[in-house]
């Protein structure tokens, strides 16, 4: 396996504060890897360490088979990045900002500026001063700068920030196309977990500076908790009926019954039949699968709205 990003016990301390600790992760060529974590979990610090902007206090990072260290510029010609909120020179136009970015990547074709403007839907704003752009268009400009030189690896911190729903879909498709057709590897952090679930092949969850889980989306599918949510007019009597038939029943909020037995999940109609026979038919029968957001919150010890 060709690892495009590899970190070994990567860590960063600020005095007594451990921003990132013992982070070991691997990102394979051509995959979309989502890096999830709460605010302050260490996502941006990790991305900055991968880009050589911050020196690790322990461990090492390798990007495109080159160890990241001060003065080593070897990987950067093939890396595009967006760190935190994108910014641009406010007095320069979109085109001029991209021209500056092009010159920061020698050997990038002059035509790349126009092509990228078109690709990111910035044609109507090309001659506009970037200081007057909307947040969404500044985000597009940031992505355009990251993509301009046709990198092999994209490190994107919250790429969907500020984009409207149509923009989010557009960027999702663009990233998919880049990985599928051009073999680009994407390492992205995101708060929009529904978006990550649609896009990523692998996810890493960082919490309080530590990587607490790394898995494929298939693995996530297996780890997600499913439950059967049942409502009836007489919740207590329904719970007793189901318990008498061997189901493990939990009473949730608003008299909602929660069953996690595989038998109940695989054959919810059996549960319905039992309740009908007990003259207490269900008014709601819902098999609910934990989504990435709920899974994530459960993992980091915040239950959120997972009832």
């Amino acid at each position: 396996m060709n690892w495009i990003i590899e970190t070994e016990n990567l860590g960063k301390r600020y005095g007594k504060v451990r921003a990132v600790e013992n982070l070991s992760l691997r990102v394979a060529e051509g995959e979309i890897y989502a890096f999830l974590g709460l605010n302050g979990a260490g996502k941006t610090t990790t991305i900055r360490m991968l880009l050589g902007m911050i020196k690790p206090t322990s461990g090492s990072a390798t990007v495109l088979n080159t160890r990241v260290q001060p003065g080593n510029r070897e990987p950067w010609a093939q890396v595009g990045y967006l760190v935190e909120t994108p910014h641009a020179y406010p007095e320069l136009t979109v085109r001029e900002n991209l021209e500056v970015a092009r010159r920061l990547h020698p050997n990038t074709d002059k035509k790349a500026v126009n092509e990228t403007i078109e690709r990111l839907g910035l044609t109507a704003y090309a001659e506009r001063i970037s200081g007057t752009l909307s947040l969404g268009n500044v985000q597009r400009l940031g992505l355009a700068k990251a993509l301009l030189h046709k990198p092999k690896l994209l490190l994107l911190d919250e790429p969907a920030n500020g984009l409207d729903p149509a923009g989010i879909v557009e960027i999702r498709e663009l990233l998919r196309q880049l990985t599928r057709e051009e073999g680009v590897t994407v390492f992205m952090s995101s708060h929009i977990l529904a978006e990550v679930a649609r896009l990523a092949k692998r996810i890493g969850i960082i919490h309080e500076g530590r990587l607490i889980q790394e898995m494929d989306m298939e693995e996530l599918e297996r780890n997600r908790i499913s439950r059967l949510l049942v409502r009836t007019r007489e919740a207590k009597s329904a719970a007793a009926t189901l318990a008498a038939s061997g189901y493990l029943v939990e009473m949730g909020k608003d008299n909602e019954l929660e069953l996690k037995d595989p038998a109940a999940l695989e054959q919810p109609e059996e549960v319905a039949t039992l309740l009908v026979e007990a003259k207490n038919p269900p008014t709601q029968l819902l098999v609910e699968q934990e989504d990435l957001e709920q899974y994530f919150l459960r993992l980091v010890g915040m239950n959120g709205d997972s009832k």
Partner: protein, 257 residues
């Protein structure tokens, strides 16, 4: 070399499109205008009183109302004011990357950081040099307009030489402020240090140690004091140390913005 040329293009584009350089060029006009106004009033106080330019309690300390006096005044103004304007120029060139959070786009790129920084120093120095040329040209023009006596080639050349040499020294002495702008990640630290430098410079001259404090040397030079050769070396060393400190800071400091 190509990378440096590209970076110079980028820096030039940023400077030409921004408003700050325009303000410095307008601000720099004030010095020859004030110099010419004071000399004009000193030359003919009665006329100035009639025109309402001079109050009853006026106490003019101008020197002489001729070309040598005018040029001395200009050189003194430019020496002090120029330093602050030059500080502003270089602080903006470096500090704006932090103030606008654009610095992160300069860090993980194939172009060497030395080229990016050298381009910033070159453009800052050219900006300051343009300000010196502006004040010299406008100063000479205004002197001609108010018809000052004593315009010999030797006097004009001497005054112009003083302006250019003191200006060059000031340019070299503001190069370390690129480091202060980087260290402070903005404009405040370099501006604060510029004020401190001016105060310490005056103190050094008062105590007789002006030769050893590089930022005091241009002041000594324009006042006609004998400046020791090592003082010029000290200025050069200060400039080089400032550039080196900037390079090492950009290379090794953590960049969190």
């Amino acid at each position: 070399m190509n990378a440096l040329a590209d970076m110079i293009w980028c820096e030039l584009r940023k400077v030409l499109r921004a408003r700050v350089p325009l303000f410095t060029f307008l601000g720099f006009l004030v010095m020859p205008l004030i110099g010419a106004l004071l000399i004009f009033i000193f030359k003919d106080p009665e006329l100035a009183r009639k025109l309402g330019l001079l109050g009853a309690k006026a106490n003019l300390v101008v020197g002489s109302a001729d070309w040598p006096g005018y040029l001395t005044l200009m050189v003194e103004f430019t020496s002090l004011g120029g330093f602050f304007f030059f500080c502003l120029a270089i602080s903006w060139t470096f500090g704006r990357e932090f103030a606008d959070s654009t610095v992160k786009d300069l860090l993980a790129v194939p172009v060497p950081r030395s080229s990016i920084l050298l381009a910033k120093f070159i453009i800052s120095a050219l900006w300051c040099a343009a300000l010196i040329l502006e004040t010299t040209a406008v100063g000479l023009l205004l002197g001609a307009v108010i018809r000052l006596p004593g315009a010999t080639a030797a006097v004009l050349l001497h005054g112009t030489k003083l302006l250019l040499v003191a200006g060059t020294m000031s340019i070299l002495l503001v190069l370390p402020f690129g480091f202060f702008a980087s260290l402070g990640r903005g404009y405040l630290l370099p501006v604060g240090i510029a004020v401190l430098t001016a105060i310490l410079g005056n103190l050094a001259v008062t105590l007789g140690w002006g030769d050893y404090f590089p930022w005091a040397v241009p002041g000594l030079y324009v006042q006609g004091a004998a400046v020791a050769p090592f003082s010029y070396g000290l200025i050069l060393l200060t400039a080089l140390a400032g550039m080196a400190a900037t390079y090492f800071w950009w290379k090794y400091a953590d960049q969190n913005r």
